[in-house]
Symmetry: D2
Subunit: 339 residues, 4 copies
């Protein structure tokens, strides 16, 4: 259904043309005429209509689509929360899921050391990047498959499932061999070929919000994945780009509640990217829990001043352990828990 | 102190001109020459130097000021938190301060009814607007002094101190007669004549962040007030304007931690404006508490569907009472309290 | 007129409540029911209705206002361009108006020297700030009335009308004594007390767009002035705040065409603030002319490296003279002229 | 080279640690001590240093990189403009290049009809999308290879070289078979696998700016392509995402002059996406020419109300023909031309 608002000075001929367009397409038409404006309601019977075509017709001021553009992702489609297991962990339920680890896998020993540390601190899932999207072609680009192997070893040693980013469709099968969860990075949120590939893979996916994406666009990208029957999708709010420069990004904490309201998918918060400075990670993490996040993904590095990327926003293991305790207290205060 | 980065191709003459400018002003100069760039450090001895003048000189690529532009507002100036009483309430201490009430004072009975309701629910301070900044000249502009009188009556009946907005310098004395705290609205954050007037008044002030203001600019506006010796200033984060339209504003939750880090002033959160929709107020309020806010200001209306302004973001008293309990639990989880 | 979109799951009772609300207010109601959504059109007969009240009712998804919130400012209200004289100059007509001068009046000799230089270069109006809005309370705040006197002297010597900023309602009468045009700065766009005061003054006004103001909000502020019967209002696009930091502001060149489309008021461009760097002023100025601006306001200083403010974005007189010639060529290419 | 600004209260030990870090890496160190701050200049001898590591060290307030992160893309690297031929057309020279055509190739006849129309109107290159990035998985996704074939036919008939978007690395060889210029869309600006693939292809590339990308990030993406020795890169400004909703995007006209200043690559403007409404395309197009663009890419459709995508921002051929004449006049006014 869409609503067509005609210009105040629209002629009878212009109104008739809109009505004729709708009737040609076998849509139903409702006409509301007031002294100042005419409004034409067009009932499309669930068919996706090209509202831009109508908007371009003479005499039309604007067109307001009534239906949400996403379907499978919506609460209307599935009122109950989506809950699914990853390893021994359950995502989307009362218990929050904590994912932690370094920005980049830098070496076998670094990832294994970190895996033990975050497990001991209370993390449920190990994060680490093997393929890294870097602003500069001259920066460290990740260890590639070697990094995936080290992560798999870390999983074997600690039992923690692993999450890692995949950046191109051709690499989805390779990354699926190693990872328990595929991560789509913010820069690739609208890389549709990649979304189709991870959709087809039927692997659990964490979909980061693009840094200037509307919440609606984010849900449309989830819809791309869901449309392949892959229902194990988590949304991840990681901060958006605004005019403020005191932090790397502006953490859109509202987006957690809005996404929980509009969709049934679990929502994960990334306080590391959302702040970009380790000093502010704890405040943002606790706020995420209070706002209703279903989990967090947090960068932890044993020696942040030696990190090959994102050292500035990484917590040391001891700070992370303290934070997990604090988050647990907040979780319990809002009727959730961190096991 | 400022750092002058010269262009790669800057000539000796251009460099000398910058040095001469600094020496004329009796500043000290440090020169660092590398093969690719020359950097000139200029030590101004605490004098506020006009760095734009240097930036405009030939051969200069950019100038980086080293010092923060605010002084009295900074943690360096006063490491401990600013704590002060308002009525029987203390702001800036372990206990959080809850301010609540309608957007606008609409009638004597409405504000008195609301005052009783929010007091019973646990609020410490009554909010209400008598002079209203409205986008449209055709909208309700507030009851003016009549509204202030009703608020004073509500204070008498309930004992709650009152906070209300003042919009122009000429009205500061009048509003001071009635209000316990003056509120500077987001649109007036950089209304410097108003900042001077409330500074001189020596009345407690709540300074809302402008909707597209950098945190640094917000602190500079606090500095305007503080420079009059008025130290009872609270900062209020109320959401910023971004591209996202699912909420009225984007709640910059990071700003709470950043402001607490940079300044000693109490930081209050306004989840009503930060979300603009009552459905999301509770999540944002609890997140604020978890992030370290020293208080909250929340819109409450006995019958939101009849409100003359902001009904859409106002809580009913019973929802507000429930929220106070939830916020108290979160406050206790992070080592604070709501009495 | 407004359109109420009900939630898919809205009950009959909820729909009836909206209809009853409208009928109580004696509005007409049009109902459109589709299988997925009900839409209720409410014809208010030109009365300004509080659409927030409806939006807050149970079962309502959102409300779409059909009418523009501004009236006197709209092209519907007055289809032809607003044209008026300032001194010997006509604003809003085929010929473009060039305003130029320093950011701040710094001394008698500086403003008189600059006035002669910009007149010779082709400017029609002299700009200069006597009361300066400054981010820091420790920066130069302008010469005040002394500055206005120097500007008046410069007018006497050159015949150029003068434009200067007024920052607070109480100073409007004083500034009107000296200035031919009152300027409302970006920070004060929504300083409603000031808008009322300049509206009442019946003096020509240049209204700068706030740095994060929607075009619609800008027109609403013009409406505040126009509602006092003061029709001599110019709009000024001076750049908006975005995430980009390579320039001081992002020049919203689209806003010129949009404002010309929606309103009959003259639109002036400020390429100095819109770029913040003198190197980019000429490109932005010529683009403004090509985009349809009715005039420009440009910062010119005889010795930018000695300017007390905005030196970095000020042109030297000889560059400005060259630019006027270039703008004239562009103006003629688009069927306009610069006399 | 980088500049490390230490906190006011940084200890001698903290300063020594930074110096030791630099000396370990065999960098040269310059120390500037003032009473309020210590600044440490670190000369890396052109080596790309990980400034985040330093920023994370105790006592460090912030680190200011002196060098630009891009090299091959910079004017310092290559002072003269990059000029190259595409078909019979030269890009980057005095003459502006006009690319025009529909958003999507919809049928054989549609693209051939449009090709003739835009050629006659004065266009030099034919645009058209065969693989379409669409917000919704349920929208028309383009004709794929079939669309490329129709474009090739249109080239054969008219002699116009063709430009079309490529969305994934695996399709680069296929698209290269047909297209004269590869287009990287805004959503894929930071799709690094794709940038590497088009870099390797050695095909001319038009790189659209991401909708929330800093100019510096845009140039870094050009650097990805250039680093493969593919020097035929055009930058394309197509509007950025801001808070303004009156237009689809905010046209960052400043970016044209800034990019021309920082880099030697040709800069193309896309007034269709930059405005999103056909009514404003002409103003934005003429502004682009006046601001110094080296070319334009404009959406033209013979029957916009029947377009399968972007009809609302497409010009009809006759409006486009008129615009080319107007742009030519502006080009000549600024010392350029459109042949």
């Amino acid at each position: 259904m869409m609503i067509v608002i005609m210009k105040a000075q629209a002629t009878m001929k212009e109104k008739s043309a809109v009505i004729a367009w709708a009737e040609d397409a076998e849509y139903k038409v409702h006409l509301s005429e007031a002294s100042d404006h005419t409004v034409i309601g067009i009932v499309t019977g669930g068919h996706p209509a090209n509202h831009e075509q109508v908007e371009r017709m003479p005499g039309v001021e604007r067109v307001v689509p009534v239906l949400k553009p996403y379907k499978i992702a919506s609460r209307e489609f599935k009122p109950g929360n989506t809950i699914f297991p990853v390893g021994n962990q359950t995502v989307g339920d009362k218990g929050l899921v904590i994912m932690a680890g370094p920005c980049s896998v830098e070496s076998r020993s670094q990832i294994i050391e970190t895996a033990h540390a975050v497990k001991e601190a209370g993390a449920h899932i190990l994060r680490g990047g093997a393929f890294k999207p870097r602003t500069s072609p001259y920066s460290f680009q990740g260890l590639g498959e070697e990094g995936l192997k080290y992560m798999a070893e870390a999983r074997e040693e600690t039992g923690l499932p692993i999450i890692t980013e995949v950046m191109e469709p051709a690499l989805v099968p390779l990354v699926c061999e190693y990872a328990d969860i595929l991560q789509i990075g913010a820069r690739n949120m609208q890389n549709y070929a990649l979304l189709h590939a991870v959709g087809k893979s039927q692997h659990p996916v964490l979909l980061k919000r693009g840094m200037s994406s509307l919440i609606e666009e984010w849900l449309m990208c989830a819809e791309y994945i869901l449309s392949h029957g892959n229902t194990r999708v988590m949304l991840c709010e990681r901060g958006i780009r605004t005019f403020e420069t005191a932090t790397r990004n502006t953490f859109d904490i509202n987006a957690i509640a809005v996404a929980k309201h509009l969709t049934h998918l679990p929502v994960i918060a990334d306080p590391s990217h959302a702040t970009g400075k380790w000093e502010y990670v704890a405040a943002a993490a606790k706020a995420s829990v209070a706002a209703g996040a279903d989990g967090l993904i947090i960068e932890v590095h044993p020696r942040p001043t030696e990190a090959m990327s994102d050292g500035i926003q990484s917590l040391k293991p001891e700070k992370f352990a303290k934070l997990v305790k604090e988050m647990r207290a907040v979780a319990q205060a809002v009727g959730r828990d961190i096991e």
